[in-house]
């Protein structure tokens, strides 16, 4: 068996390796950029580097998401000891020209290259605070050495060498970390329950199901920085006394599965996972479980049924997973982003984390910013940032000269925030008070061309299609709610339909078994609360609104 890895040696070797190159060209190879042709860009840049004979001088590094996906493909040139330059819309041709401008005595770069330079001080970047995504765009996710060179696995080493499991939990408690999977449950509290539970085996599960339409935060973290997730899992297991861990990832995220698998193998090889981690008494067996891609399998009890090989249907809680989880053993389930926060908290100290955000919601939140904005992409902002800052500064305002109408957070379980509430700070409590939720980080900004009843219908259709069918209000109720919304959206609805929509929505919300059904009416109620007029305008008997029953 190989000797335990000496993290300092790896870091030094990696720095020497990097030091040999005069320039490093980081090429984004993440989801959105790939869709914009980043594969061709990378190939062109690599070929040009060879053709120009720059192989010894310029290092081409495939990296994760740099954030400003709407300007993809993105690439960044980092000169040795100098300030990096970021380029947007780097087509294959532009990539070739970029490389041609790299040699020492090359002529100044053509306009085709300089025009593509992105201002590092633009609000999109300036408003962000990178904690979870600290490595995205800076490392090659397929090389464990890259992660280690950026300080990776140090937090785990510190914990194993100088912290008792309880100390780790206390540090997480001091940081104020709350679950990023949607509900914001204090992570330390959950871990304490598992630590206190008895039994021969205990499990940690990383929830990487991420089924919300439009969301790709967890997927990006898993693909672009897989070792950070593994280190977070290892710290969770160490703190709680778990000896086995699963990463539950939907099958659609094939690249995340591949990378996590490879990362697990690499970490095991270096004894960063597996038996007697880093020579300590701590052992952890980690493996990836692939889900078939049902939204409900993100719900923790359905997820466990699926991991066990059963049909992914939720069951009643209590018992909670920390009492009876996988195969009856105590289990803690955390969201991928939650776990990816942990190495930073232990590594940099809980104060560094607690200093970011608001009093009740600490740290940062990663959002998949989408919709009618000038800038869209993957952003990480401090909690408590106002929605206005996200829309106007980070997002660069509404595209195409239209006006802001509403932002949807929390996807199909969330709600919308209208223009009057743009100054709402984004934290768990305040979003909930508005009838929305933080959710796992989907953030869709809509302009005034969107009709809100149709937004409600879209999300209701999603819930109808994703309902597992176990309980009646969700299975049959969402069918009827979609039907009623259909009637209203197509102009055939009556005042009575609207009343029925509200009363059935209430029944579905209050009587459904799991979170899917319980929150399915949220987009409906929140659009009704803020945009009731739009519903009334669509009714055939709209004039009598508020009057007699149609």
């Amino acid at each position: 068996m190989a000797a335990a890895l000496d993290l300092d040696v790896v870091t030094a070797a990696e720095q020497t390796r990097r030091g040999r190159y005069r320039q490093r060209v980081m090429v984004c190879q993440s989801i959105s950029c790939l869709a914009a042709g980043a594969q061709a860009t990378r190939t062109a840049i690599e070929q040009a580097t060879d053709e120009e004979g720059l192989g010894h001088d310029v290092q081409v590094v495939p990296t994760g998401c740099m954030g400003l996906c709407s300007r993809g493909p993105l690439a960044q040139v980092v000169p040795r000891g100098g300030a990096p330059t970021l380029y947007g819309d780097v087509t294959a041709e532009a990539g070739r020209q970029l490389v041609a401008s790299l040699p020492r005595r090359a002529p100044p770069p053509p306009a085709a290259v300089t025009d593509r330079v992105l201002d590092p001080d633009m609000p999109f970047f300036a408003c962000q605070r990178r904690f979870v995504l600290a490595n995205a765009g800076r490392i090659d996710p397929e090389r464990i050495e890259d992660y280690v060179a950026e300080g990776g696995y140090r937090a785990m080493q510190t914990a194993l060498q100088s912290m008792a499991p309880d100390d780790v939990i206390e540090a997480i408690a001091a940081s104020g970390l709350r679950g990023r999977g949607g509900a914001g449950y204090p992570t330390a509290k959950k871990w304490r329950l598992l630590a206190a539970a008895g039994g021969e085996h205990k499990y940690v599960v990383a929830n990487g199901d991420e089924g919300d339409p439009g969301a790709f935060m967890d997927r990006t973290v898993m693909e672009d920085d897989p070792h950070r997730v593994l280190e977070g899992i290892a710290l969770a297991a160490y703190a709680t006394g778990a000896d086995r861990a699963f990463l539950y990832v939907r099958a659609e995220f094939a690249r995340a599965v591949e990378r996590l698998d490879a990362a697990i193998r690499a970490a095991r090889r270096h004894r960063l996972l597996g038996r007697r981690v880093l020579g300590s008494d701590f052992s952890l067996d980690v493996s990836v479980r692939i889900g078939a891609g049902a939204f409900v399998c993100g719900e923790e009890t359905a997820l466990m049924a699926s991991v066990e090989g059963g049909r992914g249907t939720p069951r009643l809680r209590p018992p909670y997973p920390t009492e009876q989880g996988l195969w009856g053993a105590p289990t803690v389930i955390n969201n991928v982003e939650t776990l990816a926060n942990v190495p930073g908290i232990i590594g940099r100290g809980p104060e560094a984390f607690a200093a970011i955000g608001t009093s009740a919601s600490n740290g940062t939140k990663v959002f998949a910013l989408a919709g009618s904005l000038v800038n869209t992409g993957l952003i990480e902002v401090p909690m408590g940032i106002t929605l206005r800052q996200i829309v106007e500064d980070v997002g660069g305002g509404i595209a195409g000269g239209r006006a802001f109408k509403a932002a949807q957070t929390g996807g199909p379980s969330g709600g919308c925030i209208p223009a009057e509430l743009l100054d709402t700070p984004m934290d768990y409590e305040r979003l909930q008070a508005l009838g929305s939720i933080m959710g796992s980080g989907g953030l869709i900004v809509m302009d005034d061309s969107v009709t809100m009843p149709e937004v409600a219908r879209y999300f209701m259709e999603f819930c109808r299609d994703e309902s597992c069918g176990k309980c009646v209000p969700c299975r049959a109720g969402t069918v009827q709610l979609v039907g009623l919304l259909d009637r209203i959206c197509t102009g055939a609805g009556t005042t009575r339909d609207l009343a029925q929509l509200e009363s059935l929505g209430q029944t579905v919300r209050e009587t459904s078994l799991c979170g899917l059904g319980q929150t399915a009416p949220n987009p409906l109620f929140s659009t009704l609360e803020h945009f009731r007029g739009e519903y009334l305008d669509l009714l055939v008997d709209g004039d009598t609104a508020g009057g007699e029953d149609g």
Binding site: A294, V296, R311, R315, L316, P318, R464, D465, E466, S467, C468, G469, K470, C471, V472, P473, R475, A476, G477, T478, V479, Q480, G483, Q500, S503, L504, T507, E510, T511, S512, L513, Q518
Partner: protein
Amino acid sequence: MARPRAQPDAAVTIDGAPVRVFSGESLLAAANRAGIPIPTLCAVQGLSVWGGCRVCVVEVAGDHTLRPACATTAVDGMEVTTGSDRLVEHRRQIVELLFAEGNHVCAVCVSNGACELQDLAVDLGVDHIRFAYQHPDRGVDLSHPRYGLDHNRCILCSRCVRTCAEIEGANVWAIAARGAGSRLVAELDEPWGESTSCTSCGKCVAVCPTGALFDKGTGVGEMRHDRDVIGFLAAAREQGEWHDREQQP
């Protein structure tokens, strides 16, 4: 669930009445013992808890969410309300959703007059359905020699699934697909009659709350009159001869 001990060791209040409970007992069991009715569709004593029909929801003081009585363990000091207006309205809507979801034409159902869904509708005063009927065509499985399954009347309560697995030990049934497309399947989605594990014990038929599972020959329309038999008998007597008749189909 823990086995109840010999002596009740806790007390709850159900609709204002104090009820002694055994530790580990469900609110439903406690209410039943005290003679307080709580409607159910998926719960059956002796089977595992499913918690899917949701008609047994009750209010527990201090909880902001409703609780299914069949799946909630009675805890000392709980104050439970079983029949508030809000609960009754939720139950009505759930029952109406079930009627709208399947094809429940009671007048021509084998279970007419002996159906728990129908009884519950009557109890709740459901005399019309406010939701759009879905009129599904989910098929009828008559491949079993003794029993039939009309999917259009199935409310997916999983009683048959649990009965077959937990009582008969044959594990014939499962629920497949999801959402509104959920369906009861025999074995790996085969015609029931081709199931090699079914012992034809009839327990699933006995436990089904609706007319979805039934004994063959009892269904409306299954009655066959043989009006020619009289003429045949008369002719046989008059002619003193007995020719074998062709069998009625």
